[in-house]
């Protein structure tokens, strides 16, 4: 029986603590921009959706990469393979679509709530560029981390996703806040 209380707790605790510590870093960044957030509540409305989207994209990539590694379609060496290329291109196209969508829906929501009169084009462009930049950085991180764990003989499935969602929270918050401070 693999599902005993002790085993679940013992195997989950280290990852949970580590990702807790990483996300407290994201919290610190958010907290230090508290003045900006109270002045522009739009930031706090967009933030969960932005980091959720980055996290979602990266979990898809991570879980696809570990399946491909297990199936032997990708070898953990840093050179070009067709499968890896296609995954990367797909991720870039998905983030183009998703972040444009997030920008448009977000600026409609903010205008409806009467929070800010955002310039929809500028706002969407800002969300898109911030999103693409975050995706690029995290994709590199995901690939390196999955390869490293696979080479070490660990199953990337167990570690990459929890760690990755925390790291994408951190990087996502930093990049999003810096872009917002650029346009206001």
């Amino acid at each position: 029986m693999i599902y005993s209380f002790n085993r679940i707790v013992k195997e989950s605790l280290p990852v949970l603590i580590l990702s807790g510590i990483i996300t407290i870093g994201a919290g610190l960044v958010l907290n230090s921009s508290e003045k900006m957030i109270t002045a522009f509540p739009g930031i706090i409305i967009m933030m969960p959706a932005f980091i959720n989207m980055v996290g979602g994209l990266m979990s898809v990539l991570a879980s696809r990469l570990s399946s491909a590694l297990h199936l032997g379609m990708i070898h953990p060496k840093l050179h070009k393979t067709k499968t890896l290329d296609r995954n990367i291109i797909a991720m870039i196209i998905i983030s183009l679509i998703s972040f444009t969508f997030l920008g448009i829906i977000g600026s409609i929501l903010l205008t409806v709530l009467g929070l800010v009169n955002t310039n929809m084009v500028l706002f969407t462009f800002m969300v898109l560029v911030a999103g693409l930049l975050t995706t690029m950085i995290l994709m590199a991180f995901t690939i390196v981390l999955s390869y490293y764990l696979f080479k070490k003989g660990d199953d990337p499935d167990n570690w990459v996703i929890p760690i990755l969602t925390s790291v994408s929270d951190l990087i996502g918050v930093i990049i999003f806040i810096s872009f917002v401070s650029l346009i206001i």
């Binding site: 029986m1 599902y3 209380f5 679940i8 707790v9 989950s12 605790l13 990852v15 949970l16 603590i17 990702s19 807790g20 996300t23 407290i24 994201a26 919290g27 610190l28 958010l30 907290n31 508290e34 957030i37 109270t38 509540p41 706090i44 409305i45 967009m46 969960p48 959706a49 980091i51 959720n52 989207m53 996290g55 979602g56 994209l57 399946s67 491909a68 199936l71 379609m73 067709k82 499968t83 296609r86 995954n87 291109i89 797909a90 196209i93 998905i94 679509i97 998703s98 969508f101 997030l102 829906i105 977000g106 929501l109 709530l113 929070l115 969602t165 925390s166 929270d169 951190l170 918050v173």
Partner: protein, 190 residues
């Protein structure tokens, strides 16, 4: 199912779901904007937000994925409380108690070490634990429900439970966080 390498298919299967999730999470961001005044009055509160959001994902989504595997393996049957279900639920609740306590403690320690203005350690731990425990309990129930329903309908719970628990978790956690902050203010803990 074979591994999909067709770019068009990866995009088609991933995008719709991501877009629906985005709208849901945007709405929960709207709820959060209701407490921006409190963020001004209560220093340090924002530190807790990303870790608490992350907590539900890590505990809830892995519970969902364990329960779906257990269904496939036959360790669980719909409408029956098996030992496997019990130990999974107890572990999820136990983990959320321990981790939300540690999150409160670590956040407070980080504030003190960095010299950031913040509330007392009791308030930090209280907010973190109430939010963490209440939202985890709601999410654990929802996870069991969604897994059972999808399994009974002949759907693979793997494809449904973990992703939907992620975004439902964001909303539930944010509502619990907002209510806890209001409650703590009413109690006069700050």
């Amino acid at each position: 199912m074979a591994y999909v390498t067709n770019i068009k298919r990866i995009i088609e299967e991933t995008t719709p779901f991501l877009l629906i999730l985005t709208v849901i999470v945007l709405l929960s961001g709207g709820i959060l904007s209701g407490v921006t005044e409190e963020f001004k009055i209560v220093p340090g509160l924002l530190i807790l937000l990303p870790p608490l959001l992350d907590l539900r994902g890590n505990i809830g989504a892995s519970l969902a994925s364990r329960l779906s595997s257990a269904f496939h393996l036959g360790y669980m049957k719909p409408n029956k409380v098996t030992n496997c279900l019990k130990s999974n639920v107890y572990a999820a609740i136990f983990l959320s108690i321990v981790i939300s306590f540690l999150l409160g403690l670590f956040s407070w320690l980080t504030c003190i070490l960095l010299g950031t203005a913040c509330i007392s350690i009791t308030t930090f731990v209280t907010i973190s634990m109430i939010t963490g425990i209440v939202s985890s309990s709601i999410l654990t129930l929802l996870t069991i429900l969604i897994t059972q329903i999808s399994f009974r309908r002949g759907l693979d719970p793997d494809n449904i439970t973990a992703p939907s628990i992620g975004s439902i978790g964001d909303i539930v956690t944010i509502i619990c966080f907002v209510l806890t902050i209001k409650l703590v203010l009413v109690w006069g803990m700050i």
